[in-house]
């Protein structure tokens, strides 16, 4: 319509005085008043280009598609809560009002919310942080510390008012009442929650008197659980020297904290069951071992006793005794025999001696002399003369008789 009217007016040689004259500000304001109420609370989908973050913190970019583009501004106060970093080329959904910037005569979209299109904003942030920390190796299995099998002290990082604490405490005290539970209460959602949780994990590491940590909260929306997806928590958990069991939300909820923790429990209750051993089960195991110990020892003693008895019965074991017995018999026999021999020998000696005696008796020269024989010896050398050839004529001789002796000279000798 306007085009025709302007063309007609120009053709008819119109003058400004016949028309209402606007100031720039007036017309701009007029445009603004018409435009802005028409375009409120819109979702616009497009690709980010020319993205600039001003030093003031405001975020400026354009949304474009193949045919058009619209300037966008996201004020500092709004973009601070963004969980992802808008970048050129990123497809997004922007929510906001069309506003007119009078000073520059431009319209723009005043963005109140921005999320990646296709994927939810939180999911995108989640995926981005997950990728980043995975690249740093914070999820590596060899980083995982073993969870102590029998912790005596358990640290808990959760809200002091939540269901998670109640669940953990009741399950832990049912399973093992003498396990000490220490709570460091934290804010689990909202502003500052992530930093509070991270700080609590660090404080437990300074305190250094718990065997294991349970970090978590009960179920909630993705936004409620968000603190556990923040880098501060993920890093504090990864840096903890104390083993950490992560227990965030329900079974289906995975958090970044789960990935950097040493163990993921599907729920806080499950964490308590994973961390705190069951006393009655342990007592049973213990009883079982004790019985085995006693039974084994009894069995062993029985076995040894049995072996002793079998040694006692065995031929090998009896042999020494047998041999001793044998030897004793042998010895007796030997002694007996030697006794006999000795006796025999004595008798033999006696007989021999008698014979010697007899012989001696017969050899006694006196006995011979008594029978009338005599012994002749040479005077010169006292040699007993047994032949006439031992004597010379005139040789001095002595003759011994049984009684007395005589001396004389050889008159003559004869050969036989």
């Amino acid at each position: 319509m306007g085009t025709t009217r302007v063309a007609d007016a120009v053709d008819s040689g119109m003058q400004p005085s016949e028309w209402r004259v606007y100031t720039v500000a007036e017309i701009t304001r007029e445009i603004r008043f018409h435009l802005e109420p028409r375009f409120t609370a819109l979702w616009i989908e497009g690709e980010i280009s020319n993205c600039k973050r001003h030093t003031s913190g405001h975020l400026y970019f354009s949304l474009k598609d193949a045919e058009a583009q619209i300037s966008c501004v996201m004020w500092k106060g709004r973009n601070q809560g963004l969980l992802f970093r808008p970048e050129d080329g990123m497809k997004v959904l922007a929510f906001g009002n069309v506003t007119v910037y009078e000073r520059q005569g431009k319209y723009q979209l005043d963005v109140a919310a921005l999320r990646p299109s296709g994927m939810g904003e939180l999911q995108l942030a989640f995926e981005a942080l997950k990728r980043k920390l995975a690249d740093e190796g914070l999820f590596d299995p060899d980083r995982k510390k073993p969870i102590p099998a029998f912790p005596e002290t358990v640290g808990i990082v959760t809200s002091s008012t939540g269901a998670a604490l109640h669940d953990i405490v009741s399950i832990a005290s049912r399973r093992f009442p003498s396990v000490q539970l220490i709570l460091r209460p934290v804010k689990v959602q909202g502003d500052g929650a992530a930093e509070d949780i991270a700080q609590a994990v660090r404080e437990f590491n300074v305190f250094n008197r718990v065997d294991v940590l349970i970090v978590g909260r009960g179920g909630g929306s993705l936004e409620d659980l968000w603190a556990f997806n923040e880098e501060a928590v993920a890093r504090a958990v990864a840096a903890s020297r104390i083993p950490v069991v992560s227990a965030v939300g329900h079974e289906i909820d995975f958090s970044i904290c789960d990935f950097t923790a040493d163990l993921r429990a599907p729920t806080p209750s499950a964490a308590a069951e994973l961390v705190v051993p069951d006393r009655s089960e342990l007592a049973q195991t213990l009883g079982h071992w004790k019985n085995r110990l006693v039974r084994l020892q009894r069995e062993r003693i029985r076995l040894y006793a049995e072996r002793l008895r079998s040694f006692d019965r065995s031929y090998a074991y009896r042999r020494p005794a047998d041999r001793i017995r044998e030897k004793r018999l042998e010895l007796d026999d030997l002694r007996h025999r030697s006794d006999l021999r000795l006796e025999n020998r004595m008798q033999a000696w006696k007989a021999l001696q008698n014979r010697f005696h007899e012989k001696l008796l017969t050899l006694n020269p006196r006995a011979v002399l008594a029978r009338g024989y005599s012994i002749t010896t040479r005077l010169r050398d006292g040699k007993t003369v047994t032949g006439s050839d031992e004597l010379a004529e005139g040789e001095g001789i002595r003759i011994r008789f049984s009684r007395g002796s005589a001396e004389g000279r050889v008159e003559s000798t004869a050969a036989e």
Partner: protein, 77 residues
């Protein structure tokens, strides 16, 4: 000696030691003297563990930082 040593032992250490003693005895490779020693140690450990199991119930405590920045435990509930 074994008894005094188990005082500073954690439940976990005692429990694991006991298990390995039972295993060693089950293999039956040790001498009679050794087995008697192991048996006695095992019984001491078993007593220690069951004492630990029967310890008094502990209440929930809260970790708080005092003005000096030191940690202390406050009873809860």
């Amino acid at each position: 000696m074994a008894a005094s040593k188990s005082k500073s032992m954690t439940f976990e250490e005692a429990f694991q030691k006991l298990e390995s003693i039972v295993e060693t005895l089950e293999k039956g490779e040790c001498s009679l003297d050794e087995s008697v020693r192991l048996f006695e140690e095992g019984m001491t450990l078993s007593r220690f563990c069951s004492d630990k199991l029967n310890e008094a119930e502990k209440r929930l405590a809260r970790l708080v930082k005092n003005e000096q920045g030191d940690f202390q435990l406050e009873p809860m509930e």
